[in-house]
Symmetry: C2
Subunit: 157 residues, 2 copies
DNA sequence: ACCCTGAGTCTTTATTAAAGACTCAGGTGG
DNA sequence: CCACCTGAGTCTTTAATAAAGACTCAGGGT
């Protein structure tokens, strides 16, 4: 436990009910939703495929998928592999795709702070022509922020 | 429900137990942890302050804080406001600060996709000298990715 | 010495998730 | 055409988590 006596920053109060960040966390920040999005991003589009990969129960998966569809993050579609019967799948909508920065940032954080050192296979997020994609924090003036302790929360009005 | 017959991308299988992204989601992707981090970022460092802001119960807050400290995302410290008794607070560690890209990306997504139009007060994340900070997806070659549908998941080895 | 407050723990009740049996519709094979 | 398989769920029961709120305990203040 560090022991600092410097004046600490004052509390920026934005009620949870009016905060975009809190709403976003409420929308996708639960135990399963982000993992389901990961599955869809990885190309698991069928119910049972997602269920097997995640080890989630049918009822919970059913609920979460319905919620994600209802929130406009996922959408359902039908497809048919040649010689197979028609099946239903889930795919990202534009709103769902807009979560990529969140997912990629999480992936980066996990890779840098949760791996014991030598991790075998790492999920990679890249463009279709194979270029790696990463998140950067860019200031209004175009410069990159590297020191996170320089960032603070304020209330804009 | 759209009805596409184009060949869908194949499934990129990375077991959840070996995936940095899944681990990151496991670590902070639950109902309360991210909201608690939001509080700390906003300067709410005391137990009861966080509890009041979030409406979380004491026992759950206690558990989550302990977990976040144990995971090295938060740390405890003591401080004393002038004329007040010493108190304990929670602050982000370097590992916790490294989650800023995730938080900022969530904040952006919430602001763009969850707000009904005219939202009164919006939490702003900026540098100490008042410059707004935003996340960008940058490709290996330095160009920004604007079309999210161009991003796919692969397994790197 | 007594009281207040911050920072919890403990106990009871309500919600949510897990496990796994059951349903139902669209095809497939005979 | 009929029986059967499979994907995509629902339903029921049991276990785990969270909510509500009383209780504890230590450090100051008066």
């Amino acid at each position: 436990m560090k022991n600092h006596t410097e004046t600490h920053t004052s509390h920026t109060r934005v009620p949870v009910s009016e905060c975009s960040l809190a709403k976003a966390i409420r929308a996708v920040g639960d135990t399963w939703s982000l993992l389901i999005l990961r599955e869809v991003i990885c190309g698991a589009e069928r119910f049972d495929q997602i269920r097997e990969d995640l080890g989630i129960t049918r009822s919970v998966l059913s609920n979460r998928l319905a919620r994600l569809v209802q929130e406009g993050i996922l959408e359902r579609y039908q497809y048919r592999d040649s010689g197979q019967r028609a099946r239903k799948g889930y795919a990202l909508t534009a709103k769902g795709h807009a979560l990529f920065p969140v997912v990629i940032a999480l992936r980066e954080w996990g890779g840098e702070h949760l791996e014991p050192g030598n991790t075998p296979l790492r999920l990679q997020l890249q463009t279709r022509d194979g270029l790696r994609v990463e998140t950067k924090l860019i200031r209004e003036d175009g410069l990159e922020v590297t020191d996170m302790t320089d960032i603070i929360a304020t209330v804009k009005e």
